[in-house]
Amino acid sequence: MRALLLAALAALPVRAGVIEAVVRDAEGKPLADAVVFLRKAADLKEAPPLPQAEMSQLNQELDPHLVVVPAGGTVQFPNKDTTHHHLYSFSKPKSFDLPLYKGDDAPSVKFEKPGVVKVGCNIHDWMSGIVFVAPTPYYGRTGADGSAVLTVPDGKVEVSVFHERLKGSVDDTTRRGEAGKAPLRLSWTLTLKKNPASKRPATGYK
């Protein structure tokens, strides 16, 4: 992902703005894996190319847990386990069903509509993953320090934040600003749901 971002920076257009985002939780700690994204973009010609995203199944978990793609992006779901998996989603932006398969037998899935797509496995209830379909190609994902840097077309921008455990609507996180040469600094403090306990059964005889 970091490499992806650097690639985007390398193809920096002339009229480029920078957004420096910091996301914290209610306790003020830096929050990783939050997705900061532009809600709208007038001109998509200068947008970065659609990436080939991948969410694999490894050790009966979805890896990575969170994949971000812009609308129209596709995601591969390769099975790196020795067991079959049956991935599905009933989410509104994208409902799909990849019946039992192994290896790279499953076709890639294209995500046209922006939104949150929750992915599960029919035979392993505990496996879950999220494909966040961003409305624009301009988005960034916070690291362990809670910060993300976005290069966006300059001008007025609407920026929102998504996090898996976000309490409330993503729309409520929206900020407006002017992106230009001087970096637009935005920060969020998010109220989060509790981290759910894993329901994965222990291995071995109980």
Partner: protein, 625 residues
């Protein structure tokens, strides 16, 4: 004064009281312990039922939850759910309902808003607040609860629908109704009712019994026992809370369970009453056994007091009571004996002698041979006296005389046998003989003379002439006994000795002597110091032998001077030395000029010569009287 309580009643009362007390105590104790045992048993059964019920509820809950977990994970259902078509979701839920035999299924969305209710218990499109497990399931915690919906008590389980995150809740309900109560009853034989908000919602009871219990359930504390229902049809009830709203009331019939105890009590009562009856009967017998002889004794005693000595106690027993009766009868015999003797003696003898005689115990009555001394006395010239006095005066004077004579006789143990006219007959040595009888008789005779002398002093003072008496004494064998008829009889003696005594009395006048005693009497009192004067040899008519008779002069007296020549004259006369006899009697007369005896002998001698003729018989044949 204590009131009179018959002994029989006391004994009976004591027996009955004791028996009744034992009966009552045993009835009470047995009843109490049995009732306690039954109650303990009933309570234990109710507790067991409650435990069975709780366990079955838990098991059902676990099964429900497990089934639901499976259903909630069903991919096809998730797909159906994702269609967001209510009809599709509802039909899928209905399908599940059939699969797990639930009574109702619910589906909510991720916000807990009810989408489907297969039984139409709750309104859709709203938060299913009444289904408490839904919220928990939304928090990814499958849950169960017992809820009250309308009249129904429903066990509810809810699980989240995950796709893979929680998108809704699937819930199922099992109604805890009459069927469930019936199943518990089937298993435990205890009835169960379920109540919420004070009213019964389901029960294994019939409607009538249900109504009976309904009014009482609200008042019971959780976990407590209660007795409810009408007498004879009561139930023992245990309240066991199932949830905050719902309680199970486990019931068993109380009076029916107590029936064996009642039966036992009835049986005990019958046995007890029977034994009480037997005890009373036994008491009666014992009382009878004690009081009947006592009453018999009392009755006989009363007759005895009235003088009926024929009364006898008869108890027909050989125990202590029998001994008592026997002793009592012996006592009556003794009393009768004494009384008879007393009545005999009162007629025959003086009081002093009678009492002394009585002290010696029973006396043989009837004829019996005794040696006695018989005393006869007579007033000289009484025929003449009696002709010269009016009868009343005569009786008065005679009574005064008899009184004194009796007083003279009785101290010497004389028994006055009878008064005949002016004559007195007294006996010494009957009914009891003693060594001093003859002496006593002679002392009595002397006392009579002395008493007469005193009487004469009084008579002279009253202008009455002196009385003179003669006393004859003889000792010998007689037959003593009761003579007379049944009603009137007397104790007396008969025999020659008696007749002779009478004759001797008749001789007193002839010899001019106060007291004439026979040789037999004199010899019988040989130990005493009496002074005698020989009188004569007397031949009684019809008897061959002559009897020597004496005049009793006194006791412990010096001999008068004339006594020696008199005795010598008698001896001379008897041997036929008539001249010497004449001389001797002459001397007597010289000393005692009026001596009748000396004159009598001198008269006899006047017809004789100097010497006695051949075949001299000195005896004098008695011809008078």
């Amino acid at each position: 004064m204590n009131p009179f309580i018959p002994l029989r009643l006391r004994i009976l009362g004591a027996f009955s009281l004791l028996s009744a007390a034992v009966l009552g105590a045993s009835l009470w104790l047995v009843g109490r312990s049995q009732t306690a045992q039954v109650e303990e048993g009933l309570r234990a059964r109710l507790e067991t039922t409650a435990d069975v019920f709780a366990a079955s509820l838990q098991r059902q809950e676990r099964q429900l939850a497990a089934s639901l977990e499976l259903l909630g994970g069903d991919f096809a259902f998730k797909q159906a759910f994702s269609t967001e078509e209510k009809a599709t979701i509802a039909s899928a839920a209905k399908n599940f309902q059939t699969r797990i035999s639930a009574d109702v299924m619910w589906v909510t969305d991720e916000d807990g808003v009810l989408l489907v209710d297969t039984a139409g218990l709750l309104k859709t499109g709203r938060k299913a607040a009444a289904l408490s497990p839904v919220d928990s399931a939304l928090a990814d915690k499958p849950a169960t609860a017992i809820v009250v919906l309308g009249d129904a008590i429903i066990q509810v389980a809810a699980v989240p629908i995950k796709a893979p995150d929680i998108v809704g809740v699937l819930a199922a309900g099992f109604r805890i109704g009459d069927a469930a109560a019936g199943a518990i009853r089937e298993m435990t034989k205890s009835d169960v009712s379920f109540a919420a908000a004070g009213s019964i919602r389901a029960s294994s009871l019939k409607d009538a019994d249900r109504a009976l219990i309904a009014g009482h359930v609200s008042g019971m504390a959780a976990g407590s026992f209660g007795l409810m229902g009408p007498m004879g049809g009561r139930w023992l009830v245990l309240r066991r809370p199932v949830s905050s709203e719902v309680s199970a009331y486990i019931q068993r019939q109380w009076d029916a369970a107590l029936e064996p105890v009642r039966e036992l009590r009835r049986l005990l009562l019958i046995v007890g009453l029977a034994s009480l009856g037997l005890t009373v009967l036994a008491g009666l017998l014992v009382a009878q056994g004690v009081t009947a002889p006592m009453e018999a004794l009392a009755a006989v005693t009363r007759r005895l007091v009235l003088g009926d000595y024929d009364a006898r106690v008869s108890v027909g027993r050989r125990d202590e009571v029998g001994q008592l009766a026997e002793a009592f009868n012996s006592m009556i015999d003794g009393l009768r004996e004494k009384e008879r003797i007393r009545s005999v003696l009162r007629k025959a003898v003086s009081k002093e002698i009678a009492d002394e005689l009585l002290k010696k115990g029973p006396i043989e009555l009837g004829g019996e041979e005794r040696t006695v001394t018989v005393l006869f006395s007579d007033i000289r010239g009484f025929t003449t006296i009696s002709e010269g006095l009016p009868p009343k005066e005569l009786v008065s004077q005679l009574n005064a005389y008899f009184k004194r004579m009796a007083r003279a006789i009785e101290p010497h143990r004389g028994v006055i046998d009878k008064f005949v006219g002016d004559a007195i007959m007294a006996l010494f040595g009957v009914p009891l003989s003693g060594p001093d009888d003859a002496a006593g008789a002679q002392r009595a005779a002397l006392a009579m003379l002395a008493a007469l002398a005193e009487l004469n002093v009084e008579r002279r003072a009253a202008g009455q002439p002196d009385w003179r008496i003669g006393v004859g004494l003889n000792s010998g064998a007689v037959v003593a006994g009761t003579l007379g008829s049944e009603e009137r009889w007397s104790y007396t003696v008969i025999g020659d000795a008696v007749n002779l005594a009478s004759r001797l009395e008749g001789l007193t006048k002839h010899y001019g002597a106060g007291v004439v005693v026979s040789r037999a009497t004199r010899d019988a009192a040989a130990g005493a110091d009496f002074l005698y004067r020989s009188l004569d040899l007397v031949r009684v008519k019809g008897k061959h032998e002559a009897i020597e008779v004496f005049e009793l002069l006194g006791e412990e007296l010096p001999a008068p001077a004339w006594l020696a020549p008199s005795e010598r004259g008698i001896v001379r006369y008897r041997v036929g030395d008539l001249a010497a006899a004449r001389t001797a009697f002459g001397e007597v007369l010289a000393l005692k000029p009026d001596d009748a005896l000396a004159k009598t002998y001198l008269e006899r001698l006047a017809a004789q010569g100097e010497r006695a003729p051949a075949g001299w018989d000195p005896a004098h044949t008695m011809d008078e009287k």
